[in-house]
C-alpha cells in the first residue's frame, strides 16, 4: 500500500524526467556537428539567406551539413579553392552526376569546339582534343575562340554563368535550395536557353506547348523537362540528333536519339503524326544548312581572291587558328570583315532560330525570325561580295618586286582612266594599240 502510494506520487516526476531525457537526446541528435554548428552560427549573421535556404532544404533534413559539400578548411574556402563542383554532388548523387557528365550539359565549358563523339566519320584521335588518354575527364583548356576574345569580367558573367553548368549543379539547382519545384519549372532553363543564338525558351513559351502549359500547367502540356529530361534524367542529350553546331548526326547515330524523342512525343501524339512532323523538321534543317553553305562558299571564294577586307593576315589573329580564315563553330563576331560578321549572324543566330524553331514547333521562329532572316542574310552577303569584287583592288597579297617598264606604267594609267570612266572603251582600245605598237617595235 505504502509502495503503491509512493509510486503514484512519483509517477508524474518519472514521466517528466523521461520526457526530459528524450528531448535532450532529440535535441542532441538534431544538432549539426560541431563544425557545422560553427558554420551556421556565424553564417546566420553573414549570409543569412544561405543558411535559411539550407535549413529548409532536403540536405538539412538528410543531415548533409556545410562541411559535407564545402569541406572543413575555411582558409581554402576563403581562397575560392573549395567550390562545390558536380563531382562533390556526385558523391551522393552518382546517377545524376554520371548522366549529367555524359550529356551536353557536362561539357558546357568546352562547347566552343563541340563534342565530336557523335559526328560522322569521327576520328578517334579527335578525342585527344578534349580528353587525356584513356580518360573521360575533360581537359581544362578552353576551346571557345569567342570566350578567349572577352575580358575576364565578360567571360565570367557573360559566358561562364551559363556554361559552368558543366561543373556546377547549382547552375540549375541553386546553391542551397533543393526544392524540386525549382528545377521542374521550365523557367529554370530560360536563364541560359534564351537569346538570339538559342531562343528555346521564347520558342517554347509562344508555341502551342508553352501556351497550354501557361493555361493548364504541366499535367496537360510538355515542358523542357518533359522532353529533354525524361523522368528526371540528367542526360539532356537524349533524343538529340545533331551536334551543338547543328550538323546532323549520321543516320545510324541519329537513329537512337530519334527513337527516344519519338517515344516522348507519342505519349501524347499519334505516331504517324510525330514521324511526319520530324520529316518536315529534318527537311527544313537541311534546307537551312544549304543556304549557309552557299554563303560560306562566297566568303571562301573572296578569301581565295584576297578580297576580304581585312584579310585574316591583316587583323588580330584568331585565338585558336592564328592568321587563318575561320568560318566554322569558332567563327568570331569581332576582328573580322563585315561579310564574316554577316555570316556570323546567319550561322549563329538565324540558322539556330530556323532549325530550333522547327524542332520546337514554333512557326514564327521557323519562318519569319529564322528562315526569312537566313535568306535576307544571303542577300546581304551576296551584296557585300559584289561590293568587295567591284572595288578593283589588286588581288595580290604581296606583289612580286619587279621593275615596271614604261609601257606597263602607261597601260596601268590607261586602265585606271577607263575604270573611272574618264575614257571610253573604244578610245582606250585605240590607245592600247598605240602603246603595244611602240612596245613591239
Amino acid at each position: 500500500m505504502k509502495i503503491k502510494k509512493i509510486l503514484l506520487q512519483a509517477f508524474p516526476a518519472m514521466v517528466l524526467y523521461g520526457l526530459l531525457i528524450c528531448c535532450s537526446t532529440a535535441i542532441a541528435l538534431e544538432s549539426p556537428t560541431t563544425s557545422d554548428q560553427d558554420c551556421v552560427s556565424c553564417h546566420r549573421r553573414k549570409t543569412s539567406a544561405a543558411v535559411q535556404q539550407w535549413e529548409e532544404s532536403a540536405h538539412s533534413r538528410a543531415k548533409v551539413g556545410c562541411a559535407a559539400c564545402h569541406g572543413n578548411d575555411h582558409g581554402k574556402i576563403d581562397a575560392g579553392e573549395s567550390r562545390v563542383s558536380t563531382k562533390t554532388c556526385g558523391t551522393c548523387h552518382p546517377k545524376a552526376y554520371q548522366s549529367h557528365t555524359d550529356s551536353r550539359h557536362g561539357m558546357g565549358l568546352h562547347s566552343g569546339w563541340g563534342c565530336t563523339r557523335n559526328l560522322p566519320d569521327r576520328d578517334n584521335r579527335e578525342c585527344a582534343f578534349c580528353h587525356d588518354k584513356d580518360s573521360s575527364r575533360i581537359l581544362s583548356t578552353v576551346h571557345c575562340a569567342r570566350f578567349l576574345k572577352q575580358t575576364s569580367e565578360m567571360g565570367e558573367i557573360g559566358c561562364n554563368r551559363c556554361h559552368q553548368v558543366e561543373s556546377s549543379c547549382s547552375s540549375c539547382h541553386t546553391a542551397h535550395m533543393t526544392d524540386l519545384k525549382i528545377v521542374r519549372d521550365p523557367a529554370n532553363c530560360a536563364t541560359c536557353h534564351m537569346g538570339p543564338d538559342h531562343p528555346q525558351w521564347e520558342m517554347w513559351q509562344t508555341s502551342r506547348h508553352g501556351t497550354l502549359y501557361n493555361v493548364l500547367g504541366d499535367k496537360k502540356a510538355p515542358t523542357c523537362q518533359t522532353c529533354h529530361m525524361v523522368a528526371g534524367s540528367h542526360d539532356v542529350s537524349r533524343g538529340i540528333t545533331m551536334s551543338s553546331g547543328m550538323t546532323p548526326y549520321p543516320p545510324e547515330t541519329a537513329k537512337k536519339g530519334r527513337a527516344e524523342m519519338i517515344n516522348v512525343c507519342t505519349e501524347c501524339h499519334a505516331p504517324a503524326m510525330v514521324r511526319r512532323e520530324f520529316e518536315r523538321y529534318d527537311a527544313v534543317h537541311l534546307q537551312s544548312l544549304k543556304l549557309v553553305k552557299d554563303a560560306e562558299e562566297i566568303v571562301y571564294t573572296l578569301a581565295d581572291q584576297k578580297l576580304l577586307d581585312p584579310m585574316p593576315n591583316a587583323r588580330p589573329p584568331h585565338p585558336l587558328s592564328g592568321m587563318s580564315l575561320v568560318l566554322d563553330s569558332q567563327l568570331l563576331y569581332e576582328d573580322t570583315s563585315h561579310i564574316e560578321r554577316l555570316l556570323f549572324k546567319m550561322k549563329k543566330y538565324d540558322l539556330a532560330k530556323t532549325v530550333k524553331g522547327a524542332y520546337h514547333q514554333n512557326p514564327a521562329y521557323t519562318h519569319w525570325l529564322g528562315n526569312a532572316e537566313l535568306k535576307m542574310d544571303l542577300i546581304d552577303i551576296r551584296g557585300e561580295a559584289s561590293r568587295l569584287r567591284g572595288r578593283n583592288i589588286s588581288p595580290v597579297q604581296s606583289a612580286p618586286e619587279k621593275n615596271k617598264n614604261k609601257t606597263e606604267i602607261e597601260l596601268e594609267q590607261l586602265k585606271k582612266k577607263q575604270d573611272r570612266g574618264a575614257i571610253n572603251p573604244r578610245d582606250a582600245e585605240a590607245e592600247r594599240k598605240l602603246l603595244l605598237d611602240q612596245f613591239i617595235k
Binding site: 569546339w113 565530336t116 559526328l119 560522322p120 566519320d121 569521327r122 576520328d123 584521335r125 579527335e126 585527344a128 582534343f129 576551346h143 553546331g245 550538323t247 544548312l289 549557309v292 553553305k293 560560306e296 562558299e297 571562301y300 581565295d304 581572291q305 585574316p312 593576315n313 585558336l320 587558328s321 592564328g322 592568321m323 587563318s324 580564315l325 568560318l327 566554322d328 563553330s329 569558332q330 589588286s394 588581288p395 595580290v396 597579297q397 604581296s398 606583289a399 612580286p400 618586286e401 619587279k402 617598264n405 609601257t407 606597263e408 597601260l411 596601268e412 590607261l414 586602265k415 582600245e429 592600247r432 594599240k433 603595244l436 612596245f439 613591239i440
Partner: protein
Amino acid sequence: MSGIFKIAAWFYAAIMFFCLTGCTTVLPIKVHLPGTIITQHRVPDIAPGTPFSIDPGQLRVATGKNVTAVISLETGKRTTFDAGSPYALAWSSDHTKLAALYSNISSTTLKVFNGRGALTAENSINGHTGSIFWTSDNDLLIATCHTAEHKFGTSVRQDLHHVKPDGKIVTTVLHETTFLPRTIKLYGTDYLLERFSPQISPLRDELLYVRLINAPLSTPYYKLFVRNLASGVEKEITRLEIKAGAYIFSQDNESVIWSDENRNIWQQQTWSNGLPDKLTVTGSEFAFSSDGAYKIIDNTLYRGEQKIADIPNDRGVPHFAESYIISAWKDSLYLLKGLTEIKKEAVISSELHKKLTSLRSWRSSGLITAEEYRKAKQRIVNNEN
C-alpha cells in the same frame, strides 16, 4: 677436245659478260610499232624516292641517294657534289648550275652548285616538301609547304620563295588552309600534300598549283589556280576532286591540261573564261613533247592518235626531256629515243622571252585584252623569225 674447249670458252665469255655488265636490267617496253623505241642510256641505282634531275644537253644526271652526285651518262663517271641527301634537284636551263633542297627539322636548306660541284650559294627557307624551278638562268623559285598540327586539324601554308641572283629571298604566301581531322582520317596528310606539286609553264613565267578547300559543311576538294609570277595575279581554272589526276601547262604556254577523277582529260585556255575542251584520250597522268607531236598518257606513248609503245614507269609518268623520253623503273632511270626524232624545244632569245612574258603579265592584270595579246604575240614572233 676442241669442242670442249669451245664450250668452255663460251662459258667463260658469258661469265665475263655478266661480270662486266653487272646483270644489266632491260626496260620491258611493249612496242606497238616495232623498232620505234630504244634505250639509249641506263642509269642504275636510282631507287623509287631518290630525287634526280636530268640534263639531257650535257648528258648527265644529278641524283640524291645518300649523297648529292652527278653522273655522266657517257662515261659513267660519278662526281660527288655534297655529302647531304637532297629531296629535290634542278639543273638550270643554261646547264651551268645545279640547285638542291635539303631537309632540316622544320626548314629547308637551298644549295646551288656550279657545274663542277663547287658550292656557290646557300640559303635557309622556311617550310618543307618543296618543288624547285629555275625561272631564269639565275632566278630560282621554290614552293614549300609548312604544316602545323593543332587540336582542330593540321594547318598547311603554301609559300613561294623567289631566290634572286643576289641571294635575297622574297616569300609570298600562296595559300593557307586547315585540313580538318575527318579529311586527314579519310585521305592521310601525305596524300593530300602530294597534290601540292606546282607546275611551271614552259616560258617559266606562270605557276599552276592547287588549293585544298576544306569547308566544314562540304566535302573537301581542290581549286586549280594559275598565277602569273610577274604580276602576281591569279585565276581559278577549275575545281578538282581529291582523286583527280595530273595538271600541267600545254607546251604552247597558252592552256592548262588536267585530268579529272574519272580520267577524262580537259584542256582550257589559261586566261579565257570559256569552257574547257575534253580530249579524246583518257588517263590520269600525262606528258606532252615540246613540239606537240608526241604525248604520253598513263605510260603509253602516242604519236598523234597512234600508239607507239607502253613504257614501264613506276614514278609518275615518263616525261620528255629535249629529244629523250625519261622513264624511271624499279631502281634505274632510262633515257629512251625513238626513230622519229623528237624535236628539241626551240630556244627563244632573251629579248623575245622578255617581250612575251611582259605581254602575258599585262594580259593577266587586265591591262590588255586576250585578243590584243594574241595579235601582239603573233607580231613579235613573226618579227623574231
